[in-house]
Symmetry: C2
Subunit: 240 residues, 2 copies
Amino acid sequence: MAKLKSAALEKSSHLEYFNIAVSVDCVIFAYAEKALKVLLIQSDLEEFAGMYSLLGDLVRPDEDLDEASYRVLRERTDLHDVYLEQVHTFGNLNRHPSGRVITTAYYSLINLKNNKLQLTHNELSWHDVNKVRKLAFDHKQILDTCLQRLREKVLEQPIVFNLLPEKFSLRELQDLYEAILGVELDRRNFRKRIILKDWLIDLNEMEVDVPHRPGKLYKLRPSLKRNGKLSVKSEQKLTA
Amino acid sequence: MAKLKSAALEKSSHLEYFNIAVSVDCVIFAYAEKALKVLLIQSDLEEFAGMYSLLGDLVRPDEDLDEASYRVLRERTDLHDVYLEQVHTFGNLNRHPSGRVITTAYYSLINLKNNKLQLTHNELSWHDVNKVRKLAFDHKQILDTCLQRLREKVLEQPIVFNLLPEKFSLRELQDLYEAILGVELDRRNFRKRIILKDWLIDLNEMEVDVPHRPGKLYKLRPSLKRNGKLSVKSEQKLTA
DNA sequence: AAGAGTATATGTACTTCTTACACATTGTGT
DNA sequence: ACACAATGTGTAAGAAGTACATATACTCTT
């Protein structure tokens, strides 16, 4: 922006340079049926008839970029304090058939149990991330990029808990990690590592209504809760 | 973008939604005098008189986002195949005093030895990253974010070689890592680790004109060269 | 030419982390 | 009461990381 003078913003270059629209797209992850799911909507562009796309919207001139992605989430899920992370901005010339639109991709992690309104917006549906083949625009690439980022992040930071109910067993937690990472984990080693990280608090409660020996229930240590606003400072490196 | 119809792009929302300008800002890193340097320019906005800012420009309606950052680099450094990585997009409402501008930050790594034209653009100057206190706009935050990303990345990927000449000694390489990470490293352990990573080729040459016992010279294994285009696929995890 | 100065080159013991792996226990359902 | 299914737990071997000291090669000074 060094060369940009105030004058330039108000005069001739205006028409020329304000020809780019700015949007956000949200990759909304949830966990259900032992699979990582992503919330998609039927595309309403005729170019992409019958295809699904991510949830997104143009950024309003009077809202912060991050705020725009929160708004998309609020409008779609009625959830407020969701975990949200910016991942990448996609700005290829022809990524949008109707014009020049650059989009900033975010992913968010929500807990389906808190969220009954899945059917309020009936064009929306949940899809197993491993079964998504093709999406409108460059949304498959956006999804892949966000998924990769999520995979890196869950190894270091206690963010997966945003996908789980308040109370969970170690088995549920391990299933979730396996769903995200797409690998099988050794149960004993997993338990050892997760306990070492000191993320969890033992609730001294047990699972109920399971058709086998019930497991202990845990919750995330409250000081590590990270739903809500972005831009975390002083990150505790959690593998170290 | 799901809700955006072609019609919307051409009708009333046009004026409303194309009021956001899009820019790129480049954090151009180089290595000199055993310090990591960043290329800055005197701000030409009166709001920031006397302050420095990063190098950036508005994205043109007919160029890809990544292309815009390459252009900024080309225009400023006359370098072509530079390492460039997108880091984050900053979109706060009031980050630019003259209007609504969202900017995507990139960092690049260049080799000062290849680059004689430092003085062609005489408003430009190199600054030790540790001594930069305040910059125009939110550029200090952008610099910090890019530096943090660089620090994470150099531990995993063989990218620091973009900052060094073709041939270098292990001491030079270690000095560079120390400058980037801001820590002292143990020489024997550093050599062991870097050899283990198998990034280097022993040139069977020696340093010359050093006032002490000369060290061996190495170069980066050619298959790992990564200057040039972005978006690396199949990244070899290099710590693993 | 000798000696001081400076940086290179190299290996080992200790600790920590990672991985592989088996058996007794506790609840449900029939 | 018995089959079933999942929980809960420890140890040994290998890999990776850390701390640390001495001999060597070249330059510069006198």
